[in-house]
Symmetry: C2
Subunit: 261 residues, 2 copies
DNA sequence: ATACATGTTTCATTATGTGAAACGCAATAA
DNA sequence: TTATTGCGTTTCACATAATGAAACATGTAT
């Protein structure tokens, strides 16, 4: 790889072990060593260090290693920092009870939209995207809603090196196309994903804005496309509910409406 | 500290930086260096490595460093592994709607009970413990419920080096006391916390057991003590609901009832 | 019994991480 | 303007601290 001299080798290796254990689950030092091309004694030393710090446990019967829940514990503290979930929860509940569909809350994590909370639909057929997962922002309504209220230069910086994957025929395929769409979303106030990420899945999303006018997060409602006509009366009334919730939440985060830049 | 030679210094330092940023939030290299007694150039190199791997971001305006959400993302994958939350959710919902109190799901993380999911009470006065946080197992009903279905030797190993903190007058204060209580819980099938952790807070908890009979997790209902008489009819009927839910969930995890060891 | 897995420990070698000092830049003060 | 202070960053000579081959310990399967 790039031999950037101001990166610490052993730290990179240790993090790669954590990531590897996060993908697989229990792995032995030999297996880890083979996968990451390290001597097993090196792996053993690194893994021991991780265990000492509480990030990894050893299964006493198989002797293999697995990640602890420390990551989860620390991760939730990061998310809590904004008080986002706590503050958003009442609105999520309200939207869920009114629409009976799945509602989601996401933040922007670099060029990806990360789902941090959801309430599942009570319907049998429903949208279900896992909390803690993240997906390319350009392919989801949540992502687009946030990007539409993010400075243009930052959006360009985020995506100029990224490739655009066509998940479905309607997925946005280039930076220019994205920027054009963001302009429309900004004017309209909400974003729509009509099977741009997963065939059959539709979503509407609105930004939660802070004092500066930029988005801190976004709210969405997602449902199977067949249930409502695109742009129909039912869908538009859900948009109304969504916009109202987003507006109120934005107020809690210091956004004083009006301004439309 | 202990100069254990099979720990990798730079990895320990890097992890301590992550932990430090997790407590504080945005910190500069100088501040980090002062707190951890490292030269700022060393901190800079480590932090750069963490950024390269996506664990840390730099605030472009203040130039300070903060943790990314990668920890959260990875942490949730670990929790998902068992499918615990997904499987437990319908039971949590059922308990919540029947009791109107806060219901919780926890796993054992070493000697601590870690809350991984909850549904909040609809009451104005309610118990609310944060998801992702962990507390000493001996002081909570969830923890005790799990420990009661954990091999005795393992319990001893977990607590022989731990101190027992008296959070309230009724908190369990020694290993012997804990072992005696676990015996009772095992016989009865559920655990009770009557203001042993937080004054005014009461909980009942039951274990979710797997094929071996040991606990994988536990379910609880928590509420302000004043709302129900201890051991009264209302509380006992909640115990019934809880035991029923725990029994069914245990079946999903391969526990074939009957066996009482 | 034998061979072959595994994880662990040892230890000589030097690559690799270290911190003092210099640097560049921005904000503030004189 | 010209110092001054404070910050993150870069450089570099030095030696510490991380490395991997090999030996070891233990268990499992042949």
């Amino acid at each position: 790889m790039t031999k950037n001299s101001n990166h610490v080798q052993s730290v990179i290796r240790a993090l790669e072990i954590i990531e590897f254990l996060n993908e697989k689950k229990e792995q032995g030092v030999t297996q880890i060593g083979e996968a990451l091309d390290l001597d097993k004694s090196t792996v053993h030393r690194l893994v021991n260090t991780l265990r000492y710090k509480g990030y990894v446990n050893q299964n006493p019967v198989t002797q293999k290693y697995l990640n602890s829940y420390k990551l989860f514990e620390m991760g939730t503290i990061e998310i809590d920092r904004l008080g986002l979930i706590r503050r958003a929860n009442p609105y999520l509940e309200h939207l869920a009870s009114r629409t009976r569909e799945t509602v989601n809350l996401a933040i922007l994590d670099g060029p990806r939209a990360m789902y941090v909370e959801k309430i599942e639909s009570t319907e049998v057929i429903k949208a279900d995207i896992g909390v803690g997962r993240s997906y390319p922002a350009y392919a989801t309504s949540l992502g687009k809603a946030m990007l539409a209220y993010t400075p243009r230069e930052k959006v360009i910086r985020l995506f100029e090196k990224e490739g655009f994957t066509k998940f479905t025929p309607d997925t946005i395929g280039s930076l220019d196309e994205l920027l054009a769409e963001l302009k429309i979303i900004h004017r309209r106030g909400y974003a729509v994903d009509d099977q741009e990420f997963i065939p059959g899945l539709a979503c509407i999303a609105a930004p939660i804005r802070m004092g500066s006018g930029d988005a801190v997060a976004a709210l969405s409602i997602s449902y199977p496309r067949y249930r409502y006509k695109s742009g129909g009366k039912e869908e538009l009334s859900m948009v109304e509910l969504l916009l109202e919730a987003a507006k109120r939440l934005s107020a809690e985060f210091g956004y004083e409406g009006g301004v439309n830049d």
